[in-house]
């Protein structure tokens, strides 16, 4: 193929073959033993450590780092997984700069935190590489639980339930388990099919059956699940997307960023993926940054993120924004899309600058136009396909305590449940805690 970065339109193969391999390789490769030792030595083993409080799953970080520094990363992995069974994925995808590492006393003192995420990966990778699954199932209880959604929330809940001896059946609408671990996370954060490897490892606990291609609402109903099982956990994430509400948004080559990313994640050969020469991404979160960065990595010449509010309001962290900038992505803030121009497919997109007033955001008369042969919408995902009869809070499933919904015997957690912050690690924490609550209530009745 003879396409280059300058080829007009939306085409594949803009880069030499070797570039794809390089671009989608591990962003922060695993530490070797020496690096891990040096990094671990910096930990002060703080009392009541702030990092531990900041971690939504409350991993005992000082303890696991001490275990690494004394030459037992295997024991460190057990410490991590006892709190967070997807500690391997979290080590790769957690925005640590907003979580544990942000509050590390060395970040506060020197601006250089202990590299907790990478140490966590070193430990979990070490024991996973040995094929060891260090947890065993309790005696079977005879109780069964249905888990809907095989994302981080559903997987964490399932593992904990199985460990307590319950039999778990997971139903997921997609063809593969993993949720956004498999279909959403940026490719360079979890390369080499890590999501599936981690699931295979997690399933070693036993007692979990996964049924993919089964959609709640289409193939199964909540009523049937409640009849057939002793409890139900919903971890269905956010399957819908917000509409842009700009004129012409139905033109060709205007699409949801999450679909683009899912396709990219599933493509074994990234050079076959068509990408525009001028790509515009609308939004200000992690999805917008990931879509923009990966567009650039696929060879787009110009990639621009346009966000309607001020930069400090972007939900993508400063670290993520800087990462995007380092890849050559341009970020424009304080502008909202007015209309999409083009004959069939998008050609350019018109924006108005916004004014942040007392009663919200208003459009100013000042406009500008960006050339675009591809537009990605990343303005937020929404709950979709939730069963009837569940009380909602805002646009998510209302929960009290450890994920109890308004229906008896039905729990929910992860992105689909109210509260939380739409992070993988939070989904894991909520799934785990709901599982403990389910376990307690099933055993109380036993």
């Amino acid at each position: 193929m003879t396409n280059s970065q300058l080829t007009p339109g939306v085409v594949p193969g803009r880069l030499p073959a070797t570039a794809y391999r390089e671009h989608f390789a591990d962003k922060d490769p695993v530490f070797d033993r020496h690096e891990a030792q040096v990094a671990a030595d910096r930990c002060y083993f703080c009392h009541d450590a702030p990092c531990m409080t900041a971690c939504p799953t409350s991993i005992d970080i000082p303890l696991f780092i001490r275990q690494i520094s004394t030459g037992t990363p295997e024991a460190a992995a057990v410490t991590i997984w006892s709190q967070n069974i997807l500690g391997g994925m979290c080590a790769r995808v957690c925005p640590t700069e907003q979580l544990c590492e942000e509050v590390c006393v060395r970040e506060v003192a020197e601006g250089k935190p202990v590299e907790i995420g990478r140490l966590q990966r070193y430990a979990t990778d070490t024991l996973m590489a040995k094929g060891v699954h260090p947890f065993a199932r309790a005696a079977r209880t005879g109780k069964t639980v249905a888990v809907v959604g095989a994302g981080p929330a559903g997987l964490a809940a399932s593992h904990r339930l199985a460990m307590h001896g319950h039999d778990v059946t997971i139903y997921d609408a997609r063809q593969k388990a993993g949720g956004l671990n498999e279909y959403g996370i940026a490719a360079y954060k979890a390369p080499d099919d890590f999501a599936q490897a981690e699931i295979d490892w997690l399933m070693k606990i036993g007692g979990i059956t996964v049924k993919t291609g089964k959609s709640l609402g289409r193939d199964i109903s909540l009523d049937d699940l409640r009849k057939a099982h002793d409890a139900v956990f919903l971890g269905i994430g956010l399957a819908g997307v917000n509409a842009l509400r700009a004129e012409g948004e139905d033109k060709a080559m205007v699409r949801d960023a999450v679909d683009f990313i899912a396709e990219l994640r599933q493509a074994a050969d990234k050079s076959t993926l068509p990408i525009g020469r001028d790509v515009v991404v609308i939004g200000g979160g992690m999805t917008a940054v990931d879509a923009a960065v990966q567009s650039k990595l696929l060879g787009a010449e110009n990639v621009t993120i346009v966000y309607r509010r001020t930069q400090d309001k972007m939900s993508a962290s400063t670290y993520e924004q800087e990462h995007a900038a380092s890849k050559g992505v341009r970020i424009i803030t304080g502008a909202a899309p007015l209309r999409v121009h083009g004959d069939g497919a998008v050609r350019e997109i018109e924006f108005a600058y916004t004014i942040e007033g007392q009663d919200g955001l208003a459009l100013s008369a000042e406009t500008f136009v960006l050339r675009a042969d591809q537009v990605f919408k990343a303005i937020g995902q929404t709950l979709e396909g939730q069963p009837d009869g569940l009380k909602l809070e805002g646009r998510k499933i209302a929960v009290t305590g450890a994920g109890r919904t308004s229906l008896p015997g039905v729990w929910a957690g992860g992105d689909c449940a109210a509260g939380g912050n739409d992070l993988t690690v939070t989904a894991v924490a909520e799934g785990r805690d709901a599982a403990e609550d389910i376990h307690a209530s099933l055993m109380a009745g036993a």
Binding site: R33, H34, Q37, D41, R42, F45, H47, P62, L63, R66, Q67, T70, G71, T72, E74, A75, V78, T79
Partner: protein, 433 residues
């Protein structure tokens, strides 16, 4: 998970990690929290005689030395034995032991060197249900000036005499805690054994001054312009403690005498080393004082992982390295190794070069591109380069097989032979004609 259950002279504990008699075991509040954190046992902070309690200074009582990153390497203290009333301690000991029957609780004692004092204190502690007593013949400061602590531990006859009294007036297992402030640890250990001790524990702290205040011209910790020597402990004293433990473990007169190893135990690895050199269990003070009670969790996970990997029981570890602790004259002088630098692991700092070129045997070549290579014809295998290299396992010592050529001496590697038969030794034992 390996079984870490420990039985030390009949005293059972869920793991071999005990807290040494010191501030961490000073009172009920601490000891309960220590047990909650996972410690297998404690030796209660040393009790004195009935009467007005001991008085401590109210200025600083610690001095310290630090490694890089201000990691605490050595701690020195001028604290005395417990300064709380005897009855309060006894009541608390009883209450803790009742609630934690599975943990070891040993009472440390230090009273004046006369039979009545010892008889009296042993009677008073009788109904605490404690598992044993430890005789503090170790404190090198304060109490020693009053004829107790290391003042007893430095005179083998006193050790033997007091131990005998304790065995006569009490049925409890008796551990004698030794001071390292002696030229040889063997006479005190032998005396304890003669007196009937069930075990010895060592080391207590080493007499020390950690630093001097260069404005006040006083040793530190400075109390109103003056300083006194203290007792030194922490990672820095571990090598001293290990050697003393090992000497007792291998000497034909003391071999088999149970040992509770103390001195700088900070990680599972330190504990395993003490046990390999003959300690039945270990006691910890400074590591807990530096990092809090939670450190024991790493010791537990680390030791059990190690035992699992070695497929060894805890009891197999105890004393495992003792037969290999020999005199210098028994070392194989025909054993030849050479340093090897792993070029992939090398970070090109050049420290090995500086060390060998300036202070050893000029056996490392620095080549273009900062490539460092060992010259086999110069390397005497001292392993200084290994020790100064910041990257673990980057430089290793390779053993030359029998018959291989040692390029430095031009000779082939021969079978075992030591100094006792070496031709350069004027006292060499001649092989029978």
């Amino acid at each position: 998970m390996a079984d870490l259950t420990s039985n030390f002279i009949g005293i059972k504990s869920p793991n071999p990690f005990w807290l040494a008699s010191a501030p961490p075991t000073d009172k009920e509040y601490n000891v309960r929290r220590a047990f909650e954190a996972g410690w297998g046992g404690v030796v209660w902070k040393t009790l004195g005689s009935e009467g007005p309690p001991i008085v401590n200074v109210s200025g600083p009582r610690y001095g310290a030395i630090w490694g890089s990153d201000r990691r605490l390497m050595g701690l020195n203290n001028i604290e005395l034995i417990t300064d709380r009333p005897l009855e309060v301690n006894l009541r608390e000991i009883k209450s803790v032991k009742r609630d934690y029957p599975d943990r070891a609780l040993v009472i440390s004692l230090m009273v004046p060197c006369d039979e009545e004092s010892w008889k009296d204190i042993l009677k008073r502690i009788e109904d605490t249900e404690a598992d044993g007593v430890e005789l503090n013949f170790g404190c090198p400061h304060g109490m020693a000036e009053r004829g107790m602590g290391s003042a007893v531990g430095q005179v083998p006859e006193y050790i033997e005499m007091v131990t005998r009294w304790v065995k006569q007036y009490s049925r409890m297992p008796c551990i004698v805690k030794l001071t390292p402030n002696v030229t040889s640890i063997l006479p005190p250990a032998m005396a304890a054994k003669r007196g009937g001790a069930d075990a010895v524990s060592l080391i207590n702290t080493v007499k020390s001054i950690t630093n001097v205040d260069l404005d006040a011209f006083s040793p530190f910790p400075t109390i109103d312009g003056k300083g006194s020597h203290g007792g030194y402990c922490g990672p820095a004293v571990k090598p001293i403690a290990l050697n003393m433990v090992a000497e007792i473990a291998r000497h034909h007169e003391t071999r088999g005498l149970p040992i509770s190893g103390i001195g700088g135990v900070t990680t599972w690895r330190d504990a395993a080393e003490f046990m390999a050199l003959g300690s039945g269990n270990v006691q910890v003070c400074t590591a807990a004082m530096t990092y809090g009670f939670k450190v024991v969790q790493e010791m537990i996970s680390g030791l059990s992982q190690y035992l699992d990997e070695k497929e060894m029981a805890l009891s197999d570890l105890v004393g495992r390295a003792v037969p290999n602790f020999v005199e210098w004259q028994d070392l194989n002088l025909n054993y030849v190794t050479k340093a090897r630098i792993d070029q992939d692991a090398c970070i090109k700092c050049g420290r090995c070069y500086a060390a060998c070129e300036d202070t050893s045997h000029q056996a490392i070549a620095m080549k273009p591109g900062r490539v460092f290579e060992v010259k086999d014809d110069e390397c005497v295998a001292c392993n200084l380069c290994v020790n100064v290299c910041p990257v673990e396992n980057c430089i290793t010592m390779e053993t030359l097989p029998l018959g291989a050529l040692d390029e430095r001496t031009g000779r082939r590697v021969e079978p075992y032979a030591n100094w006792t038969t070496h031709p350069n030794n004027p006292m060499a034992v001649k092989a029978a004609e």
